[in-house]
């Protein structure tokens, strides 16, 4: 992306009808490590690929967050911006529980978070959040939901989706397989998520129990995070089934990015 005279102020239009600062924020999402999500009729799974500044010495940046027993977030982009939205969502969830004694509706939480993002595209004193979210949720009245939000304030609902660096290969994988997701069980969904994630790791990076993590929400169950040694059995199964895996498209070309900033 090239600099031009219309990109220093968030709220100034370019003659082509674009808001460059908002588009740069969307670029930050594309450069964050990938997040994938998919759902069945009863479960929603989010998988994330984590980065570490120094693989051996430091911990990995956490990218999956529990908002409530029935809602999970996955982030791609600036992790610190993500934390702000996570904190806001948790506050809304707990306030809803206090006022109404029921779990907050996923759709309505997504709407509020997206409205919050939209505000920062229209005020000169702000900047857009440099983070994209995958939001998984279960609702008693309307069932499972998987949403994607953008820094622009747009949000979309999906059966399966992936965001972040090299996520095109994961989306292609989902497009080939999504028809079987509706009736799939927990293990099948997790393996699909891991298989989709595997295509986003890039050259010379293996998918391991250190850099991958999975979260699940769904009907009659509480938010569950699967990582570290709990993820090992699933990764082992992935190896076993490797031969049967559908062929995947080559990974997208990747821009040079400051990996310490963008998680």
């Amino acid at each position: 992306m090239f600099r031009n005279q219309y990109d220093t102020d968030i709220t100034t239009w370019s003659p082509a009808g674009r808001l460059h600062q908002v588009e740069y924020a969307m670029e930050a999402v594309k450069q964050g490590s990938a997040c994938v999500g998919l759902k069945s009729n009863t479960l929603v799974v989010i998988g994330s690929l984590k980065r570490s500044p120094h693989a051996e010495l430091s911990s990995y940046q956490k990218k999956l967050a529990k908002i409530d027993d029935h809602i999970g977030f996955g982030i791609a982009g600036l992790a610190s911006d993500g934390r702000v939205l996570i904190k806001n969502a948790r506050t809304q969830a707990i306030n809803h529980k206090y006022t109404y004694d029921t779990p907050i509706s996923v759709q309505r939480l997504v709407l509020q978070i997206s409205d919050k993002s939209q505000v920062s595209t229209q005020r000169s004193s702000k900047r857009p959040y440099g983070v994209g979210l995958l939001i998984s949720g279960y609702d008693e009245q309307t069932g499972t939901h998987l949403f994607q939000t953008e820094p622009s304030g747009n949000y979309y609902e999906y059966k399966a989706i992936a965001i972040g660096a090299r996520s095109q290969s994961a989306r292609t994988y989902f497009e080939k397989n999504y028809q079987t997701f509706e009736e799939a069980d927990e293990e099948t969904l997790i393996l699909h998520a891991l298989r989709a994630l595997k295509g986003t790791t890039g050259d010379n990076v293996e998918l391991t129990s250190k850099n991958a993590s999975i979260s699940i929400v769904g009907k009659d169950r509480k938010y569950k995070l699967i990582e570290e040694e709990q993820l090992e059995p699933y990764l082992a199964k992935l190896e076993e089934n490797a031969a049967a895996t559908t062929e995947q498209q080559p990974a997208e070309q990747q821009d040079d990015v400051d990996e310490e900033m963008v998680q």
């Binding site: 206090y98 006022t99 109404y100 004694d101 029921t102 509706s105 759709q107 309505r108 709407l111 609702d139 008693e140 009245q141 309307t142």
Partner: protein, 249 residues
């Protein structure tokens, strides 16, 4: 009930000894809150049955001991799944109905996301509103019964102007809590909770009749409403049959 809780009338009256306290010369400038209800409804009764909840109240709003408004509705439907019945200050109930419809029910239509506010949500919201107003020492002077049926589950709960709240399988407010509640509880336990819609309506009607005999603020014009998987249904008012020829009367 006294309208002059602090005895100001006596102090201000011409014949009363003059007091030099300047505060007493302009008592109306002080901020006042509702300390007594003015126009009031009496008992609300409700009982769960197989596949729903029945709720009943008479149609009278009294002004003190005067039967002032004889054809008002004290049972209102709140959205697709809930009926709320109110005892106590009728204007406060009208205010509550308006607020809840605006902030909860209308919002369901505005968002159009396939969700409808549930009985439990309305119940808990009302509890919070009433408790909040009590903490401002400006209570909404009601005892509310919230009856609902949603997702195959019946809901029945009560809250009052202090924010006290509880759920039960049978409920009765006001005089009804002394007179009707024991009848309803006995009926419910004898039937082991296995009650048809018609049986529920019949026992409520019987309790309303007993209340009409014993509660001087009760009327013989009543409404019985049912909430089940068909949604809320509030019947037109009916007249209770009474028998006044007993020797004791």
């Amino acid at each position: 009930m006294s309208m002059d809780n602090f005895g100001l009338y006596k102090l201000m009256h011409e014949d009363a000894p003059k007091n030099n306290n300047p505060l007493l010369e302009q008592p109306t400038l002080a901020k006042t809150h509702t300390t007594d209800p003015i126009v009031t409804g009496t008992s609300v009764l409700a009982i769960k049955f197989n596949g729903g909840v029945a709720i009943a109240a008479d149609t009278l709003a009294s002004y003190g001991s005067m039967a002032r408004f004889r054809d008002i509705e004290r049972l209102k439907s709140f959205g697709k799944y809930t009926i709320v019945g109110a005892s106590g200050e009728y204007s406060d109930f009208q205010y509550i109905e308006e607020q809840v419809k605006q902030s909860l029910i209308d919002r369901d239509y505005q968002l159009d996301d396939g969700r409808s506010t549930t009985p439990r949500e309305i119940y808990q919201y009302l509890v919070r509103v009433l408790y909040n107003r009590r903490n401002k020492f400006d209570p909404l002077y009601n005892v509310l019964v919230i009856a609902g049926y949603e997702n195959g589950k019946a809901f029945l709960g009560q809250t009052d102007y202090l924010g006290t709240h509880f759920e039960d399988v049978t409920l009765a407010t006001g005089y009804g809590s002394y007179i009707a509640q024991p009848i309803l509880r006995k009926f419910y336990s004898e039937k082991n909770g296995n009650i048809t819609e018609q049986e529920a309506k019949d026992i409520l009607k019987k309790c309303l009749t007993v209340l009409f005999y014993r509660d001087a603020r009760a009327a013989d014009k009543v409404q019985i409403a049912v909430i089940n998987d068909q949604g809320p249904k509030i019947d037109e008012p009916i007249k209770l049959e009474t028998q006044w020829t007993f020797k004791g009367f």
